[in-house]
């Protein structure tokens, strides 16, 4: 649950580590995430189709990863934090049965504009599923 309290810039520090977030990667999350993002590519919901493509199982779509990145940052920053951008690079696929653990760090911080940049990665058993950066503006 996102804390109802939104952070103020004074409550953050350069180099601050975000609390880790471990997300179990399930068939339900991959399927449900694909459909909730209107992505009917068969590799995200049909295991036989995914195997035809050379994957051991269905794999998470990038729009679900985007959502989970938003969740990771927003759970820490609070509900009224405004995201200015989400930059995302995908690496190892997320297959069912794995766990993706997000870690992140404040790498830029501008007190005057209440703006932070969080650098993050979502790691699974095969390496980094996602690496990226999110720019967050906290309420003044």
């Amino acid at each position: 649950m996102t804390s109802m309290k939104t952070k103020a810039i004074a409550e953050t520090q350069m180099g601050e580590l975000l609390p880790e977030l471990a997300i179990p990667v399930t068939v339900t999350l991959i399927n449900g995430g694909a459909i909730a993002t209107r992505d009917y590519f068969p590799g995200h919901h049909d295991a036989d189709a995914a195997r035809e493509l050379g994957s051991p199982h269905i794999f998470m779509n990038i729009l679900t990863t985007t959502a989970l990145v938003q969740r990771f940052v927003e759970q820490w920053a609070g509900p009224l934090a405004i995201l200015k951008d989400i930059q995302l690079k995908l690496g190892a696929p997320n297959y069912p049965g794995d766990t993706m653990t997000f870690s992140g760090e404040v790498v830029e911080r501008d007190e005057a504009s209440s703006t932070l940049v969080v650098s993050l990665k979502g790691k699974n058993s095969m390496g980094n599923h996602a690496t990226g950066k999110v720019t967050v503006v906290l309420p003044a």
């Binding site: 996102t2 109802m4 035809e52 051991p56 959502a67 989970l68 058993s125």
Partner: protein, 342 residues
């Protein structure tokens, strides 16, 4: 010309043919770079039910997205759309290239269809960079326009060989007065490729295999060391002729050339002789940044081992360390060193 030379020459010729074909492909593709594509409209207005369904599966609980009273208390006219949904509104849906009128009939990823028949059947998304001008609220109708920004040279990655294709999209909110407002941008990059392992296509594996730490090669000279680790002891080889300690283990004493040896248990007290902190590339299953020490035991020999309990940037040459043993992957035990006071 021998039969083998002939075969090699044929392979070479085939490669050249491939390259010739690629040259034609590259010219076709480069001619398309910079092409702009018309409006693609969202099927649905930004709406509360789609937002709620998205939040539910993603595990996002923020009343700004689901509680219109809360959103109004924050000055919005209705619930806010999560920024991560920007791309969702303009997805085609079940038929990925089917968009509502008056959407453009052009396909902004048509270059993939040009590349495909040259032997690059697979595609994966590799980058999505979203930027948001402002919050989007339920009731708005979105569309995007796009541009083929670039197609890379042919690249080989762990997945296979192919091309990185980058499309830029500009998202707009439609206004009744016609002054449509830009609300966000997206860089979307895919890899269009020839899979590296076509023979493995029918993998029967049910899920991903877990990547484990590599195991050491164990010989008669080194077995005592690894068995010591399993027993939670840091054992150092000792020449029984001249008592010299040595590490890494070997068959012969470098001081007196005796082949006779036994081992002694080290105290585990040590100091940091040198170190490196690995940042990149990140290789599974290790955690990064990954600090590795060249460690001098108080008995005088040095060994290389992982450092644990280290705050980034605080390692100091000469600092005191103590060994501890960690079990990895339920199959090996390794000595690791932790900084201690004094």
């Amino acid at each position: 010309m021998s039969k083998r030379d002939h075969a090699e020459r044929r392979v070479l010729e085939n490669n050249q043919e491939t390259n010739l074909a690629d040259q034609v492909l590259l010219e076709k593709v480069q001619a398309m770079v910079g092409r702009e594509y018309g409006r693609v409209y969202a099927w649905d207005q930004v709406n509360a039910p789609m937002i709620r369904h998205w939040c539910e599966i993603m595990g996002i609980e923020n009343p700004l997205y689901t509680d219109s009273n809360f959103a109004r208390s924050q000055g919005y006219s209705d619930v806010v759309a999560p920024p991560g949904m920007l791309q969702v509104w303009c997805m085609g849906g079940l038929s990925p290239e089917n968009f509502p009128a008056p959407s453009s009939q052009e396909n902004n990823f048509e270059v993939l269809k040009v590349i495909d028949p040259y032997g690059y059947p697979a595609v994966v998304a590799v980058n999505s960079d979203l930027a948001f001008n402002r919050q989007i609220v339920a009731g708005e109708r979105l569309y995007f326009t796009s541009k083929l920004d670039s197609v890379s040279e042919e690249k080989t990655t762990g997945l296979g060989t192919g091309f990185f294709v980058t499309v830029l999209m500009d998202y707009f909110s439609e206004k009744v007065d016609g002054n449509d407002e830009p609300v966000g941008q997206q860089l979307f990059r895919v890899f269009k490729f020839k899979p590296a392992h076509r023979a493995d296509v029918k993998i029967e594996q049910k899920s991903a295999s877990v990547i484990k730490r590599p195991l050491p090669g164990i010989s008669d000279d080194t077995r005592f060391f690894w068995e010591g680790c399993d027993a939670g002891k840091l054992l150092i080889q000792r020449c029984t002729a001249c008592q010299t300690l040595r590490h890494p283990p070997g068959p012969v004493c470098s001081e007196c050339h005796s082949f006779d040896w036994d081992s002694v248990e080290a105290s585990g007290k040590a100091q940091l002789y040198s170190f490196v902190v690995m940042h990149y590339p990140e290789v599974p299953p290790f955690n990064y940044p990954n600090p590795i020490g060249l460690i001098e035991l108080e008995e005088g020999v040095r060994l290389i081992a992982g450092l644990v309990g280290v705050e980034p940037g605080t390692l100091q040459i000469g600092q005191r360390l103590q060994v501890e043993f960690h079990r990895f992957d339920e199959q090996q035990t390794l000595p690791q060193f932790r900084p201690v006071a004094g």
